[in-house]
């Protein structure tokens, strides 16, 4: 079987095309929009004795920039056979949030639409923007 080395110019062209995706592969969204997977939704209780009444929710989303998800995951019509490696994922955490506030922000009209395992589209800005305070962190932090 005869072979021939791929010319450098071709390799550079392939790399250049590949690198076009790099600008999407960052955790911070340029326009502030993220797809958010509701990963944990638990009651938050008053006090610290196991007896207090529920006074809100503790909520954690797994988020990734909308632009990345649109281009790397959603653009293809074919089913995804394996997960992309190193998705630009972060955690968005509300230690205590009122359910009514979260519903209003997510424009949820039915009660069962706020549930673990559901996807949402959220917009995040830096303080002092008006909205619900949360914290966004690198999940690999330890």
């Amino acid at each position: 079987m005869a072979g021939q080395a791929i010319p450098d110019s071709f390799m550079k062209a392939f790399a250049s095309v590949s690198n076009q995706g790099d600008r999407f592969n960052v955790r911070i969204s340029e326009d502030g929009w993220y797809y958010a997977f509701l990963s944990k939704l638990d009651p938050h209780y008053a006090g610290n004795d196991g007896k207090g009444e529920q006074d809100g929710l503790t909520v954690t989303f797994e988020i990734a920039p909308q632009a990345y998800m649109d281009n790397a995951v959603l653009r293809s019509d074919s089913p995804m056979r394996s997960y992309p490696r190193n998705m630009p994922a972060s955690l968005l955490h509300f230690e205590k949030v009122l359910e009514s506030d979260l519903r209003r922000l997510l424009k949820l009209t039915e009660s069962d639409l706020l549930a673990e395992g559901e996807w949402y589209l959220v917009h995040l800005e830096s303080p002092p923007a008006k909205g619900i305070d949360a914290v966004m962190v690198d999940p690999d932090l330890d």
Binding site: S39, H44, K51, E62, A64, Y83, E95, G117, L141, D142
Partner: protein
């Protein structure tokens, strides 16, 4: 007192002869390996009892102290790790509840036990039930070594991008697609049974674990440990023997009282005074004493207690809301030494007070 020689001294034979005829014949008869039947007294009937049944493959489990999370490691009869049921670690916001030996970057990190590559069964795709494996991977990558390609069995559930990144790491990972599956050893003994939970949400649609073992450990009869992760027992399709032969459980969802967590429990068997053993796995911030998610809830504890699950231990403290820092792993069933090398993992120490055997 005789002046004859004693054992250990030189002796001299000074006389001898044949025994009397009667004595000689009698000796020959008694010391013959092929005594004819009918001669001499009939042999005594031996009262042979059947041998005790062989022990089950699993000698016991460790409900490990990982902070606000869940991690259970099962051991074989020699003390070798067999499999995990969950390998969790606290969400980053609650990582201070983890013991220092599991926290990367604190200097005394030891990490989870990976001796002999134990299999891992995942209850459901919640961070605090799988993340310890990813932490171990990160630590291995930090030191430039390959992570063990662990053998995972996981439930088919929706996941987000953080869990997706974790899932993409492992090639030796397999979804459970059947309603139930036994893992059987080479002698046909069931090591464990996995049940597909039947609830609708992530917590209640994962995998439950049933392990035959000897609990109480002094008993020769096999009983069952049943672990459900965050799934309420009402969403676990336990069979009748499982409902009546279970002697050890973990508190559902770290002691939460949502979704009927402490309802529909199996009944501790009557021969043991209807007293069951229960491990509560949760975390406490050692500085603020804050219990993440408010776990465990007193209402749930009352539910377990009323149902007979009264022999209990907590991973995070000596008792509920004691806030005394007396944390540690809980050993259920047989207490034997582990075979993993010393100081090779964070799980080798079990405080004496945290035994449910």
């Amino acid at each position: 007192m005789s002046n004859g020689p004693t054992i250990g001294q030189d002796v001299v034979m000074t006389d001898g002869g044949l025994p009397s005829d009667g004595a000689g014949k009698n000796l020959k008869r008694k010391f013959n390996s092929n005594n004819p039947p009918g001669k001499g007294p009939p042999p005594k009937k031996l009262d042979l009892k059947p041998p005790p049944p062989p022990p089950p493959p699993v000698s016991g489990v460790g409900v490990m102290d990982v902070g606000q999370g869940s991690c259970i490691l099962a051991y074989d009869q020699a003390g070798n790790p067999l499999f995990y049921y969950d390998m969790g670690y606290p969400l980053v916001f609650y990582r201070s509840s983890a013991p220092p030996t599991l926290r990367r970057g604190l200097g005394n990190y030891l990490g989870p036990c990976l001796f002999q590559n134990p299999r891992i069964y995942l209850s459901h795709w919640d961070y605090d039930h799988y993340r310890l494996a990813y932490t171990a991977h990160l630590e291995a990558a930090h030191h430039g070594v390959d992570v063990v390609d662990l053998h995972w069995i996981f439930p088919v559930q929706n996941v987000g991008p953080v869990a997706g990144n974790f899932r993409a790491l492992f090639t030796n990972a397999h979804p459970l697609v059947a309603a139930t599956q036994d893992w059987v050893d080479g002698h046909g003994n069931i090591i464990c049974t996995i049940l597909q939970c039947v609830g609708g949400d992530i917590n209640n649609s994962g995998l439950a674990m049933v392990i035959p073992t000897r609990l109480p450990s002094a008993d020769l009869a096999d009983h069952l440990l049943v672990f459900t992760g965050d799934a309420s027992f009402g969403n676990v399709p336990l069979t009748a023997p499982m409902l009546t032969n279970t002697t050890g459980i973990t508190a559902v969802h770290h002691g939460a009282d949502t979704h009927g967590a402490a309802a529909n429990l199996p009944n501790p068997p009557v021969p043991y005074n209807v007293t069951g053993r229960i491990a509560y796995s949760y975390g406490v911030n050692p500085v603020t004493n804050r219990h993440p998610y408010g776990h465990p809830r007193m209402a749930a504890i009352l539910g377990y207690t009323l149902a007979g699950w009264t022999m209990r231990a907590c991973t995070a403290e000596s008792g509920f809301y004691a806030n005394d820092g007396l944390r540690g792993n809980i050993r259920m069933a047989l207490f034997i030494a582990f075979q993993c090398p010393p100081n090779s993992c964070a799980f080798q120490a079990f405080p004496p007070a945290k035994r449910l055997d």
